[in-house]
Amino acid sequence: MKKAIIVLTLLLSVLSLSAADNGIVTVYMPSPAGLANKLAADFEAKTGIEVRTFQGTTGEILARLETEKANPVADVVILASWSDGLSMKNSGQLESYVPKNADKMVPGWIDSDSTLFGYSASAVGVIYNTLIYTELNADWAELADSQYKNDIAIPDPELSGACKDFVSGYVNAFGWDTFEALAENGMIVPGANKAALEAVTTGEVGILLAGVDYNAYSSIAKGEPLAIYYPASGTVVNPRPAMIMKAAPDMDNAKAFIDYLLSDDAQKMVTDAYLLPGRTDIEYSNRSTLDQIPQIECDWDAMMAIASDSAARINELCER
């Protein structure tokens, strides 16, 4: 018995300590977990560099970076919110680099100082349960109508970067009236993106506002009774910035990882995960294309300024 335990302990400690040959790169990235794991595995296979990932929501990743300020660990950070990426840049945490294939990127998905690389993007839409609503195409403001009372939800914008950018973009363009009316109509905040999608999938609510589209597309492909549309007054398409930390312990590997994210193979994986690719020359047919999505005019600097407060305000409004 005792011997078996000792052997097991040794075995596991060896397992947990084994390092790869060509060094490591530590990447913090948000969901979808499937994509994150595939990108890491493929990069490892191609370069021999071990990828250590921390996966969490945008909120958790930012918290982790703050905790580790004294002893930096992360080389590359990917967020689901462009405005959070901009605020990291403004606080001087990012390294500038011109990656391969930068010229093929969607205009505006790389910032002027070449520190934020929007290697993929998502948009938020209205996701509804088709067992409850057979057809729906109401605009954002129309969902405050009493026929949807207590049947609407929104992801927690303090946890979901995509939802946060939508809220700040919408408020910046149209003000607070719609959200106040929606909250008045019984809108709930079930949690981060996936928890919110779960609520509409199981029918806890019939309609999810500002749900990220790639989650919906992948659930629909599995056969869940869901549908998604982008309301006519427009939504926010938000590039998901990958960034190199100035304090990166493995700078060269970090740059190699960014190059990899913009490579053909990685971009293919991005579209397979139902995200919008960061390059204009990648073809995809499993979801609405970028030009099919009605967009709100985005002033990212103005949005960044109000993003955190707006996110907190949504939670206050919806608290019952």
Partner: protein
């Protein structure tokens, strides 16, 4: 004996470093601001209206859970100690099940069962009004009471077993009816025990993180543990606030332990010893027997069947949108946990590694601590016991926060922050009290004359320890190892605060899948976790029994 002294002081210093330093870091973080002593920040945090409200609701939750779990536990304790139902030993095993089900899993089960258009509404659409009632403080109190009541039940059962029936018979002979005998005889004799049980349940409730972090978050009910966790993990990070709240919680817990000590000394009666101590089991009348069985069935139904049913069914559902209906069941979730990516397998291995290594280290350290404490005088012995049992008296989230702050500050000297070793260390600190208690109790069963006989026959102290003492306490060590292994395997607080990158445990895997991934996969892992704990308990139990022969 100089060697003895040296060993003792090294041990005390080591335990202090392991357990006291993290605690001191918390107080320091709470009252030092940018290197300046300032108690005003801590006071400001505590009196902030939001936090004051949270402290109020934590205490309220504790009180309500004590009341509800008493209502469940007291009748059961009576039935299983003083009536013929006590003969059915299998009830002891059944009421172990809530303990084998980690609280976070049970509350996920309850959420899946109760949520709008959830399992209950699919089975009984007419009961939908219950859902709204459930997602409130009432539901939280119920779920926590159903988890914690077996502790109170066991304590009260043992207390009632020690009240000899002769006292009750004397009352009956003198003409007191049943209700009067309960009120005037049994109750006064048991108040002390009940007070201790109630305080224990109260401390357990305000220290609990699993249920408030799943169900409590759902209904927006913040308590100490969830706020401490939030300030320490969600941007913007505020360790000062987290530490201030942790300090208050430590204060409350220590106060309650003092109260409990006082009651133990003043209010418990010595009923064991002397003649006529036997408990004669009362035979219940037929209606009473049926009512008793119904009560047991209800307790079992709510504390076990609902959460376990809900977790198991959810792990078998293919498309969540269609819920429970023919053709929508699959075992794919179980396969996906281990094949879809490396996370599931890794989480499982990491949990086993942590459980085995921390149980082993804690057993060795605990045995050394108890052995050294026993060759010392009363004061040093109390010091060693006091420090090593401290982690049990405090909420684990407080200790883990302390470990996080302490090892972050001494990173330059001991760089284990952000590695798996800080988790091993944290587990050892949290679970050391289990081994210490088990080893202490098996030591107390060894007659001193055995050791004396060994010494007279010419054995050196080392020889006597190895060949007489160690074999005799080995069962205690093994039981402690087993307890630690099972609890460590599903520990949630440590990994959710200080797990390094890339490292998920079974508990954080379940949590993550439940919150942000596939509920089916999360629940599949939950079922595996419950089965694994139960099976390892059975296997280890058998192994220990065999060693005994």
């Amino acid at each position: 004996m100089n060697g003895k002294k040296t060993a003792t002081y090294i041990l005390i210093a080591f335990l202090a470093f392991l357990i006291l330093c993290p605690l001191i870091s918390i107080f320091a973080e709470a009252i030092f601001q940018d290197g300046h002593f300032s108690i005003s920040n801590a006071v400001a945090t505590i009196t902030e209206s939001e936090n004051a409200k949270m402290i109020g609701s934590s205490l309220l939750l504790g009180v309500l859970v004590v009341i509800v779990s008493s209502i469940i536990a007291l009748p059961l304790a009576y039935l299983f100690s003083r009536t013929t139902l006590a003969r059915y030993r299998f009830f002891d095993i059944i009421f172990m099940i809530p303990f084998m089900t980690p609280p976070y899993i049970a509350s996920m089960g309850w959420i899946l069962f109760m949520q709008k258009r959830g399992l209950m509404q699919q089975l009984f659409p007419d009961l939908s009004f219950i859902s709204d009632l459930f997602f409130s403080l009432a539901g939280l109190v119920l779920v926590m009471s159903f988890h914690v009541f077996p502790f109170m039940m066991t304590m009260m059962k043992n207390a009632m077993l020690s009240v000899p029936s002769s006292l009750d018979e004397a009352g009956a002979v003198l003409g007191a009816p049943f209700t009067v005998r309960i009120r005037k005889l049994l109750m006064p004799l048991l108040t002390g025990n009940y007070a201790i049980g109630a305080l224990l349940v109260f401390v357990k409730t305000i220290s609990e993180y699993g249920t408030p972090s799943t169900l409590g978050r759902r209904i927006g009910f913040d308590v100490f543990t969830t706020d401490i966790h939030r300030y320490a993990t969600v941007a913007p990070i505020e360790f000062g606030k987290s530490a201030s709240l942790a300090s208050v919680l430590v204060g409350i817990c220590l106060l309650i332990w003092l109260m409990q000590n006082y009651i133990t000394m003043r209010k418990t009666y010595s009923l064991v010893g002397g003649k006529g101590g036997a408990v004669r089991l009362r035979k219940l009348s037929r209606p009473a027997f049926i009512a008793a069985l119904a009560f047991i069935a209800i307790a079992v139904f709510f504390s076990m069947i609902i959460p376990l049913f809900s977790v198991t069914i959810s792990s078998l559902i293919k498309l969540r949108g269609y819920g429970m209906r023919a053709g929508n069941y699959t075992i794919a979730n179980y396969i996906n946990v281990f094949t879809e990516d490396k996370q599931g397998v890794n989480a499982f291995l990491v949990s086993i590694f942590l459980a085995v290594s921390s149980a082993t280290i804690a057993s060795i350290l605990g045995t050394i601590a108890v052995t050294i404490s026993r060759i010392n005088g009363k004061n040093l012995r109390k010091t060693i016991e006091g420090i090593s049992l401290l982690p049990e008296m405090l909420p684990s989230i407080v200790l883990v926060l302390g470990i996080m702050l302490f090892y972050n500050s001494i990173y330059k000297m001991i760089p284990i922050y952000g590695t798996i070793w800080i988790m091993v260390l944290s587990y050892v600190v949290l679970f050391l009290p289990y081994t210490v208690q088990y080893v202490t109790s098996s030591y107390s069963q060894i007659s001193p004359s055995l050791v004396a006989a060994g010494r007279i026959s010419g054995g050196t102290p080392g020889y006597v320890f190895l060949h007489i003492t160690l074999p005799l306490i080995s069962r205690g060590i093994m039981s402690g190892w087993m307890m630690t292994f099972i609890i460590a395997f599903r520990e949630l607080v440590t990994p959710s605060l200080i797990a390094p990158t890339n490292t998920l445990t079974v508990s954080t895997y379940i949590n993550r899948q439940f919150e942000q991934g596939s509920v089916g996969k999360g629940m599949a892992m939950a079922v595996i976790c419950i089965l694994f704990s139960t099976v390892s308990l059975l296997i280890l139990n058998k192994a220990i029994l065999r060693e005994k022969h």
